[in-house]
C-alpha cells in the first residue's frame, strides 16, 4: 500500500554542500536528504463520515520521521511516532495528543528555502486547538465546498518538533490516492503524499 522513495534534495542542496574544500568532510556530513512518502493512508475505512472525512471512531495513522515508517496504533502512548493523520486532521506527539516533546507550526515559504527551524512559535496540541490548525484555509489545506475537494495550500510548510525533540520540515502535496493531477469527486481521499527533511542531530538546521 505505501511506497516510499528517497532522492537528494534538488541540485540546490547538493550545490551548497559541495562548497567544502575537504572531500572527506563532505562524505562525513552529507547534505540532508528529502524523503517522499506516497499514499500514506489516513483513516481509510469502509465507514464513510462524508465530506472527505472519516468517522470519529477511526484511528489515527502514526508516522515516524526517523524511521520513515508507519507506527502501530498500539504504540500511540509512546514516543515512537512523531505525527498522526486522520482525515484532514494532523496531530503531533505532544500536548494532549501524546507523551512526547512534539510541537509544530505552519510557515509560508518554499520547502527548499527553509533552512532552519525557528526558535519560537511552536505550538502543541491542546483542547483549544491543534498545533496544526484544522479547518479550510486555517492550516495546510483548502476545502472547496462545491466540489468537496481538499487541496494542500501551495507554499505552506509544516515545521515539526518530533516526539524526541528533533526537528523536521514537511510539505504535504496531495490528499488523494496516487496524487492525481486533478482530483475529482471520485478520487479516493485520505491518502497523504508528502515530502520531509528530518534533522537527526538535534540541531535546527534543515538544509
Amino acid at each position: 500500500m505505501k511506497t516510499t522513495s528517497t532522492f537528494a534534495l534538488l541540485a540546490l542542496a547538493i550545490g551548497f554542500s559541495s562548497c567544502s574544500d575537504d572531500k572527506d568532510e563532505t562524505a562525513v556530513a552529507p547534505a540532508l536528504q528529502a524523503t517522499t512518502v506516497n499514499n500514506l493512508a489516513a483513516g481509510v475505512t469502509t465507514a464513510n463520515g462524508g465530506g472527505g472525512q472519516p468517522t470519529s471512531a477511526t484511528k489515527y495513522t502514526f508516522f515516524s520521521f526517523a524511521n520513515n515508517a508507519q507506527v502501530a496504533t498500539a504504540d500511540s502512548n509512546t514516543t515512537k511516532w512523531d505525527v498522526g493523520f486522520r482525515g484532514t486532521t494532523i496531530i503531533i506527539n505532544g500536548g494532549n495528543s501524546g507523551p512526547g516533546q512534539g510541537g509544530a507550526l505552519v510557515q509560508s515559504g518554499l520547502f527548499a528555502d527553509i533552512a532552519t527551524a525557528p526558535e519560537t512559535g511552536f505550538k502543541v496540541d491542546a483542547a483549544s486547538g491543534k498545533a496544526i490548525t484544522t479547518g479550510s484555509g486555517m492550516g495546510w489545506y483548502n476545502y472547496d465546498g462545491a466540489t468537496n475537494i481538499v487541496t494542500p495550500i501551495a507554499g505552506k510548510v509544516i515545521l515539526v518538533r518530533t516526539a524526541t525533540g528533533k526537528y523536521a520540515k514537511v510539505e504535504i502535496v496531495s490528499y488523494y490516492q496516487n496524487a492525481p493531477a486533478t482530483p475529482t469527486a471520485t478520487s479516493v481521499s485520505r491518502y497523504y503524499s508528502f515530502r520531509y527533511v528530518y534533522q537527526p542531530d538535534g540541531s535546527r538546521n534543515l538544509k
Binding site: 464513510n48 509560508s108 486547538g129 494542500p152 501551495a154 486533478t182
Partner: protein, 707 residues
Amino acid sequence: MAFARFFCISSLSGLALPALAQQPTDTLRRQQLGEVVVTATRTERSISEVPIPVTVVGVKQIKAMGAVRLNDVLGEQTGLSIVADHGRGVQMQGLNPEYTLILVDGEPLIGRTAGTLELSRVAVGNIQRVEIVKGPASAMWGSEALAGVVNIITQKPQDGTSGTLRLRYGSNRTADVSASVNTQGERLGLTAFVNRYSSAGYTLRPESGTASVPPFANYTAQSRLTYKLGERTRLSVSGRYFTESQASTYPVAAGTGTASVRYESRQQDYSFNPVLTHGTANGRLFATARFYLAGYRTRENYTYAADGAPYDNTYFNQTFLRPEVQLDWRLGSKHTLTGGAGYINEGVEATRYDAVQHMQSYYGFVQDDWTPLPGLNIVAGARYDGHNQYPGQLSPKASARYQVRPWLAVRGSAGRGYRAPDFRQLYLNFSNPVVGYSVFGTQEVRARLAALAAAGQLVPDPATGLPLINNALLDRASSLRPESSVAYNAGLQLDPTDKLSLTASYFRNTLRDLIETTPLAQKTNGQSVFTYYNVSQAYTQGVEAEAGYQLRPGLRLSGGYQFLLAKDQAVEARLATGDVYRRDPTTLITERVKAADYGGLFNRSKHSGNVKLFYESPAKGLTASLRGIYRGRYGFQDLNGNAILDTDAEYVRGYTLWNVAASKTWQQRYTLQVGVDNALGYTDPAYISTLPGRLLYASVELRLSKK
C-alpha cells in the same frame, strides 16, 4: 442545482446611433434613431441624446433571431457574458450577476439564488425592447445597480385589436408556444400574454449519472390593463405569474457506493403593479405613483429513488413590497428636475433561516437633467437609501455628453454603486450535517455562537475556559456594510459617414468592502464557525468598442469587442511581496508565482466580441441573420493549491458560437422562421454545462388584427 433550460443565444446588435446621423437607410436604423429610453434617467429620453450609454435591443431584433428567453437576448450583446452559477445570469463589465439589477418595466425582478437571477425565467415574446445601462446606476435605482441595469420594457396596448399565436419546436424536444392579445379602445387598453416553454433537456456527460439540464416545463402569464381616467391621467395595472417544474435523478455517496436520489423542484414568481400617472396641462409637471408587490417561491424535494424515503427538503419564500412616487418638473427650457421617494419591505422565510425575516428601507432621489448649451447635456443626481439592518447609502452620479462636431460626440460619467447584503449574508443559519461546519448570517451569529457555547460545542480558551471566539471579527461582522464601487466611464461616438458608426469607451469599477466568509470560532468537532464580513477590494476595467456599417440598403454588418481586466487587489499585494506559491500538479514541486502570471478573477474573459450580419427586406417579407459570438478563454478553477488563476491549465478554452436564422412573412400575417444556434455544434462537456451543441428550430406565427 441543475441548470434549467437552454443556452441558445441570438439577437441583433443594438448600436446606439447619434442624433446627427443622416438619412436612415433602412427601417431597422430608423427605429433606432427615434428610440426613446427610460432607464438612464428615469424619464423618457431619446437614446441619441442621453449622456449615459444605453444599448437597446428592440422587438424586431429579438424576433429576427428567434430568441425565446432573456438569456438568448443578452448573450449576444457586446460586453455581456452569460455565466452559470446557480442559474444563468449576466456578467456586465466583468462583474458577477449579483451586481446587475434586472427590472421589468422599472420594477425589480426578485428571486436570486446565490446572487444569480435565472434569466430564462423571463420569456421575451411580449417584450417591446430591452434597455441595458452599463456602469453604476445606484444614483437612480439603488441597490444591486452596481455594474448596471437591464430593464425589460413590455408591450403596451396598441390601437386596434390584434392577436398572435406562435409555435416553435426544436432540438431536444424543445417546444415554445405563446399567444398574445392586444386591444386599445377609447379609454381601456389591454394586453395579455401566455407562454408555455418545455424541453426534454440534455446530457453532456452520461458518465456523471445525471442530466446537464433535466426535463422541465414552465408557464408564463403576463397582462397589462390601461385606463384613461382623464385627459392627462392614466392608470396602468400589470401582473405576472410564472411557474416551472423540473425533475431529475442524480447519484449521491451512500456507504461505500452510491444511491440514486430523485430531485423535484417547483419555482414560482408573481407580481402586481398598479401605476398612476398625471401630467399638468402645461406639460411642465409629470407625477407617477407606483405600487409593486412581488413574490418568489421555490420548493425542492429530494427522495431516494429506490424506496421514496426522504433525502432532503428545502423551501424559500421571498416577498417584496414597494410604494414609490416620482415627480418630473421641466424648469424653463434647460432643466428637467426629477425627484422621488419610496419604501421597501422585503420578507424571507426559508429552510435555512430561523424565522420569517423582514428588512425595511426607504429612499429618496433627486436628479437634474441640464442642457446649458446646445449639444451639451449634463445629468447629475444622487440617491439616499436608509435601511434598518446596515448603514445608509448615499449614491451620487454625474454624467455629461457633448456633441463636439456633427460626426463626433464625447461622453463621460462618474458615480457610486452599491449592493446591499442579501438575506443569506444577514440571516443564514446553516450547519452542514455531513462535514459539520456552520455558517451564520451577521444578524444571527452572536446568538448562534452563544447557543453553541452553551451547548459546549465551541473549543474553549485553555487560559480562561471561555469559548475561543475571534471578537474582532465578530465586531466586524456585526457592522456589515453594503458592497460598493466607484466607477468611471469615458467614451467617444463617431459617425464619419452616414453608413459607418463607431463607439468606444473606457470603464473602471473599483469595488470596496466585498463580502466574504470568515471563520471566527472553532467547534469541538474540529470544524469552523463561519460568518460574513467586508474584506476584499477588486477592480474591473476595460475598453468596449462597437462598429456598424451599412453595406447595402437592408444589409448591415456590425461588430463589438470588449477588453477586460479584473483583479483582486489583495492578491496583487501578496504577489508583490512574493507570498503566493503554486505546486505543479504533476511534479508536485512548489514554486513562487510571478505577478505577471496572475490571470485575475475567475470566469472573466480578457477578450470577447461578436460579428453580426443582418439582412432585411420588408418588400419581400424576408429577414436573415448570421451572428458569431466569441468568448475568449477564462479561468475556471484553481488546480495548483493557491486559490488564484495563474496557469494555462486553469483556463477554459475560448470558443465562438455561430447562430443563423431566416424568416419569411406572407401577407403580413403568416411568418415561417428557421434557425440554427451554435451551428458548428461546439461543446465543452467538462467545463461548460450550458452549451448543448447544435440546436435546430422552426417556428410558425399567425397574426390577426383589425383596426
